[in-house]
Symmetry: C2
Subunit: 108 residues, 2 copies
DNA sequence: GCACACTACTGTGCAATGCGCGGTAGTGGC
DNA sequence: GCCACTACCGCGCATTGCACAGTAGTGTGC
């Protein structure tokens, strides 16, 4: 198992988490995820996730010019996105708890 | 997000965990996972995972007759399986920790 | 002795999603 | 002009969980 498989279904949550902290554009989200420890995340995955979340109505989007390169497409959470974030965080936490109890039994 | 996506890449670990506790056959593993809280796990997924892990050399396999139905194909961890289990558990735990720090930042 | 339910395993095809790779563009340094 | 870095997008692939259908053994009710 490399963590690429672990990301399945959780990348949405991770992206929602960084955007909940503050709006960001694709390249920036990639950097923030990597700094947070998700070093193996691919840029294409993040762009794809952002587009998917936007299409799902969870994100707002606005374009801004930049001094240091091409334009940046910023994304931010809207109400739908925030409740999606909360719901997914809950699901994730209970899932983690379930896994924790499973793993403990064989080792405690 | 339904937890089916969360299972991606983690079902291996979950199956290794229940087999580490004690040998089991497919149907039994499904039941134990569901009792542990993974209620949405599909039987075909578990059988597929068992076959995959067996093919990867992580499991031993032996067939036993049963009083209450057809034969049962038992699976158990071998050395490879145990080290795979330990490695995946470590990866999982550090991944969970990374996610936890990500989620915390946006909420206090 | 036949239909049915429950146990137990298998195969096929599908859908979701992360990724590698390559392509397009803008800005600045040499 | 060429290259590096920033920034974004599209294509096709691999993995993997699942629904569904099928095979088979055992016991129950009639």
């Amino acid at each position: 198992m490399d963590s690429s498989q672990l990301l399945k279904g959780v990348l949405d949550l991770a992206v929602l988490a960084v955007l909940d902290e503050r709006d960001g554009y694709g390249y920036d989200v990639v950097r923030r995820l990597r700094e947070a420890g998700l070093v193996e995340v691919g840029d294409a995955s993040v762009y794809g996730t952002l587009r998917r979340l936007y299409k799902a109505g969870a994100l707002t989007s606005y374009v801004m010019a930049s001094d240091e390169g091409p334009h940046r497409k910023y994304y931010g959470l809207n109400e739908t996105g925030r409740s999606m974030y909360a719901a997914q965080a809950r699901t994730w936490n209970s899932f983690v708890a379930t896994m924790a109890s499973l793993l403990k039994e064989g080792r405690g």
